[in-house]
Symmetry: C2
Subunit: 467 residues, 2 copies
């Protein structure tokens, strides 16, 4: 199974024809202005922007099917776009083509209260959904840093701080409606909670980054808002001690809802950006969900583990306001870090290792940050073995760029050697294609065979995941 | 995307050659005797037995690769075999070929205590694994009725009584080693708890029923043995009342570990088969996992719900021995039901619906059982909206067979109309191919395209899932 996909050279003639047809079909919803097109290319991190030739704001599955039909006939790439917060160049258009913007296709179609489920259009963001759900006593737990769209979150298999308890998008999508490359509209599964009905197309589409089809509807699993929630903050003498406390917490089976690490530089960032006054030391942020009694029991257990490892004081709060402020600061950490070095480019890394290797992996990474003279705060969804460094570089400094590159390569190789992955939640996009091959070898050829079978023209977000 | 796969007519010449080569390569581990071959065709339920031409007992991935190489060159089907407990004809060989028996490839390769994970060969059964794990304070929760192999459970996306809390095989497989149809050995994922590294090949293989590749190693998520476990039994005035109690329990977010329904006929069956003395009325069997306090809290909440719906007395037990006896009886329910009508054939149905529709679906199904004059006890993993009828028919009675067939068709259509599936956990195999098309329509063509891409010769368990 060779991995060669069709070339992604620009098809100038096809693009010109498709854009003309789409302009006629969509009128003012089809944009070709430079500013709008550039906004729809990659704008986060260091990958260069590759703008599409046109942006179409879709409102319905029929709109999406119409675009797919035009692009299929004229052999033109389509790149799905939510709010553009992906970090690995997922929304770039290396061979041009049409950016399919879902931000105006953003209805919560139906909430199935009794089934703890809902169906949404792909442009709904996680915060919009949770606004809608709040009065019903339900919530959707997956929370990447940004207020991303659920379409984008599905396509990149996103997760976030709650994943340690509630899983990732992999675990929380029940079924999908997808327009395939040949225009067929499929439903990947029924609404049943579990199923053994054939290949798991839902899971195949989750994380496929728009390369196999365009998602037009998403049915999600929801959770009941817990009776009690409490947050806790606990400083540690070292990042390693904080990791070890995390490992013990997970191994003890304590069902923490969140367990997040920030290193001293990250704390400095959020103190400045979010106006907090936390001690600038390695710190775990925790959240507990359950009954009043269970929340108390859980936090006492974690407090004991933390103290045994030299951590503390373990500060516990059930006040909703304090909790919200703390977690908003955590969600804004990426931007807070970027703000630590004005004018810098941030490069977010995303390794994830088996939790038994976490402390070792973080410690070696810290040593490497020092060795390469980089400014790279660390935050992590440590309960899952997943942590990020945000490497803050001067993009005009070739030597710094090179050092960052070597650091990232070493980090990736370290994670893979520890039986981990180069990406816990950001995805492959353009940025991690080489890592994917290092990590999974011949399995990448199997992915290539699937891609060719379902998108023989290579028009669905070409140049992502698979070269 | 047309679904036409290569014909599965017998390739007599290829089979003869392949068998001769395999006999030479595997000696006494390659069997062609009629008895052994028939044992390796379908022996449960009503589908006719279609025996393979030879059975090879494999011991290693190299053995599996050797078989794939021979079968690929000579265009001969391979059918993976664990212990033969599948219910939809998965192990039949409609075009003959080689049964690849994994029962002697049954090592627990490694337990990663700190990561709550382990790696096993496919022939390990769930009970064997739990024996190995017990002294380490860990367990593997997925428990189909039979003591199936983990290879078979992975291939059919099995679940069981614990799925309501611990999920199905979909949620508990971390990564797989697979020999693909072209002989390539792949690893579908790293050992990281979560990953966004390309297409989710793990989930694609889980539930693919041997039609995409042969699984040679499985890395599984484990759970810590809970501090406290307790079982409860609660009779109800009607199956509907029991379903409604289940629905309320799930909607209240009570993390029950098990919540199982048996109707009066099923109870009669297990009373006889497992020497119990339960009242022959609709009954819920429950299990609670957690801390001492949490287990008590959970059971009190369910007891209140049950009483409000006319159920009770709610009998609660923390004695390990009683618990084990009860759950062994539940696991033996299929055989207990078969024993209710000596000489009968049992046909297990397996619909799963959104939980809001469960009571309605069960009630209509009960009415249909009466209408068609069938003996068909009902048991169910009702917390997941999944229930089974075991239709006990005299296979020589054409009219009864026909009535059973119409009943099943109506049941399937009912479940699909209620946005459910024809199979919650048994899989498609040969028996449910028509249902799959009714349920998922054009999505089945997408499955066909994937099948053709990964197995262009159609030699991996042909004639299953996809016609």
């Amino acid at each position: 199974m060779a991995v060669a996909l069709r070339s992604i050279a620009r098809n100038e003639e096809g693009i010109a024809t498709a854009v003309a047809i789409l302009k006629q079909r969509f009128g003012t919803r089809c944009h070709t202005g430079r500013a709008v097109c550039e906004q729809h290319g990659h704008t986060t991190t260091w990958l260069p922007n590759e703008a599409p030739d046109a942006v179409v704001y879709v409102h319905s599955r029929e709109d999406v099917q119409a675009i797919v039909e035009v692009c299929r006939v004229h052999n033109v790439p389509m790149v799905p776009f939510g709010v553009g917060t992906s970090l690995e160049g997922h929304v770039n258009a290396p061979a041009g083509g049409i950016s399919v913007d879902f931000s105006e296709m953003a209805a919560v179609v139906r909430v199935y209260d009794e089934d703890l489920a809902c169906t949404v259009q792909p442009g709904v963001t996680r915060k919009m959904l949770n606004e809608t759900l709040r009065d019903r006593g339900l919530f959707f737990p997956i929370d990447p840093g940004a207020d991303a769209t659920l379409g984008g979150m599905t396509a990149t298999r996103a997760s976030g701080t709650n994943a340690v308890r509630y899983g990732t998008m992999r675990d929380n999508v029940i079924s999908l409606e997808v327009v395939m490359a040949d225009g067929t509209l499929i439903h990947t599964a029924s609404r049943a909670k579990k199923s053994a009905a054939g290949y798991d197309l839902t899971r195949l589409m989750v994380g496929s980054e728009g390369t196999l089809g365009l998602i037009t509807e998403i049915t999600l699993k929801l959770s009941g808002i817990p009776e009690a929630m409490s947050a806790a903050v606990c400083p540690f003498p070292s990042v390693e001690a904080a990791c070890n406390a995390t490992i013990l917490t997970i191994q003890s089976g304590i069902p923490v809802a969140r367990i997040e690490l920030m290193d001293p530089i990250s704390i400095r960032g959020v103190n400045r950006y979010s106006k907090l006054a936390l001690a600038e030391v390695p710190t775990l942020f925790l959240e507990f969900h359950g009954s009043e009694a269970s929340v108390l029991e859980q936090s006492q257990m974690v407090a004991e583990i933390a103290e045994d490892l030299g951590g503390g004081p373990f500060t516990f709060s059930t006040k909703a306001e304090e909790r919200t402020k703390l977690w908003q600061a955590r969600h804004d950490a990426y931007w807070a870090q970027i703000a630590l070095r004005p004018g810098c480019r941030g490069i977010a890394t995303d390794v994830c290792v088996p939790i038994s290797r976490l402390a070792e992996c973080v410690a070696e990474t810290q040593a490497d940050i020092e060795r390469f003279g980089l400014l790279a705060p660390i935050v992590g969804h440590v309960g899952d073995g997943n942590f990020h460094t945000a490497i803050l570089i001067d993009n005009d400094d070739a030597d710094e760029r090179r050092r960052a590159q070597v650091f990232i390569e070493r980090l990736t190789e370290r994670a893979i050697a520890m039986e981990g992955t180069s990406t816990g939640e950001h995805g492959i996009g353009q940025g991690k294609m080489a890592s994917l091959r290092k990590e999974l070898g011949p399995a990448v050829d199997v992915m290539g065979a699937i891609k060719r079978a379902l998108d023989p023209q290579n028009i669905m977000n070409p140049g992502k995941i698979l070269a």
